[in-house]
């Protein structure tokens, strides 16, 4: 028979554990929501929001900055700014899509006969033009399909984003099936896969493809350019590998972002425990990143700072920011203009390795470079 004191103690312990689990779940949910917001902003930037919706873009980024800060301060207070960021990013994406659609329509109007077979290679947007016979009154569905990372290691995952306009049915193959007109999904295929999305509407149907290349896992500790891990890319939307195929064929003049070399390729450097000083083994990666930035004056770079799971969430946010800032300062010292680099901290929320040992922690103490 358990005495009353012990029973009370057990009840109290249960309550504490329940509350802790609840708070952790909330934290993860909010991190996921944050990633969705970041994905929308990245998608909008790809669609040309900087030119066509600068106000909305700035508002969404401002709201995101505030939400990030609130999340690093206290989870329970993060909901209102996060909700504001979600609304702002949804507005932004809607406007960016409308702009993209307008650009497409106007380019179609000024390009009577697009050259056939030139659909592949649009790096910013995947879209089709619908059935060739569709008149201006009923437009074919607009479609955009992208991956936040074109190459992953086996066992990792990538985010697949799609959005469509004027479509009644949207279908993604293989293995996914019918989906909402707009959304995103995490995919982790075993082998290289080409995702095909088909949007069908009153104006016809449009098809788009995006290829996800799956490589064998490598034991590399410090990443070279080109193979980010899935957690690193979760917060960012750059580097999609979409290739557009449309019934009309042809690369549309209005497509955004063509000709940006190395977009989305990334690298990472590792840090010592509780330190933000640049290690000697990071130099080759930094040299490579600096060289890329100098070769591509139009490119910008985002540096994401990460930490291992030890320490408080707030401390890790700050430490992650210090790591990202150190990497930025090192690049600025190598001659990369500071205004082309932005930094962000994910703290402990996006580990590269979910393990709980020193090996995993060593991989998680990192700064990730993402070209945009």
């Amino acid at each position: 028979m358990i005495d009353r004191g012990r029973l009370l103690f057990l009840l109290l312990a249960f309550c504490v554990a329940f509350t802790a689990c609840g708070s952790r779940r909330l934290a993860r949910e909010e991190t996921d929501r944050l990633h969705v917001v970041e994905g929308r902003i990245a998608e909008s930037e790809r669609l040309g929001a900087m030119e066509c919706a600068p106000r909305e873009l700035a508002q969404a980024q401002g709201a995101l900055a505030l939400a990030l800060h609130e999340m690093s301060e206290r989870w329970e207070g993060a909901d209102p700014p996060l909700r504001a960021a979600e609304t702002a990013s949804a507005d932004l994406l809607a406007k960016a899509k409308a702009c993209g659609e307008r650009a497409r329509l106007s380019s179609r109007a000024t390009t009577p006969e697009p050259s056939p077979g030139a659909g592949a290679g649009r790096d910013a947007e995947t879209a089709g033009t619908g059935s060739p016979g569709a008149g201006p009154a009923v437009s074919a569905p607009g479609l955009s399909l992208s991956l936040d990372n074109g190459t992953i290691e086996r066992g990792r995952s990538a985010n697949l984003y799609w959005s469509s306009t004027m479509a009644d049915n949207v279908f993604i193959e293989p293995d996914i099936g019918p989906v909402e007109p707009n959304g995103n999904m995490r995919v982790a295929p075993d082998r290289s896969t080409t995702y095909t999305v088909t949007a069908t509407g009153p104006g016809g149907s449009t098809t788009g493809t995006a290829m996800l290349k799956v490589t064998e896992p490598s034991p590399r500790a410090s990443g070279a350019l080109g193979e980010p891990r899935d957690e690193e890319v979760a917060a960012s939307g750059t580097g999609e590998q979409g290739t557009g195929t449309s019934p009309g064929g042809g690369r549309e003049p209005g497509a955004v972002g063509t000709g940006r070399a190395m977009e989305g390729e990334s690298g990472q450097i590792l840090f010592d425990f509780d330190r933000s000083a640049i290690r000697a083994d990071a130099k080759p990666t930094l040299d490579e990143v600096a060289a890329h930035m100098k070769r591509n004056p139009g490119a910008s770079l985002r540096i994401e700072g990460h930490c291992d799971e030890r320490g408080t969430r707030r401390y890790n946010r700050i430490l992650g920011q210090r790591r990202a800032d150190s990497a930025r300062d090192a690049l600025v010292g190598m001659g990369v203009p500071r205004e082309r680099i932005t930094t962000i901290s994910h703290g402990e929320d996006a580990p590269a390795d979910p393990g709980h040992d020193e090996e995993a922690w060593a991989k998680n103490r990192r700064a990730v470079f993402r070209f945009r």
Binding site: P54, L57, A58
Partner: protein
Amino acid sequence: MRRFLPCLTTLLLLLPSAAWLAGCTSAQALSSARASLGRARAAGAEAAAPYDYYMAESFLADADHEAGEGDYRQARVFASRSEECSLRARRVAEGGAR
């Protein structure tokens, strides 16, 4: 207890003063950021460099929010970001390089 009384009194007097000072510096940063934004607007940055201009506006709103919540340190951070964006926008509007 009597030995600690002067320390306690000093502490009680110092704490509000520190809070008041923090509030003052953040208010200063905010008003400086607001003035910078005004100058950028006057230079025509809203049309010439809309992204930077609206970014400055957003950060200023964030700074206001944080100051309202009493997080003066973060308010200063946002205000300084706003000022940076305003300066960049103004530079572009006045014909300087981006």
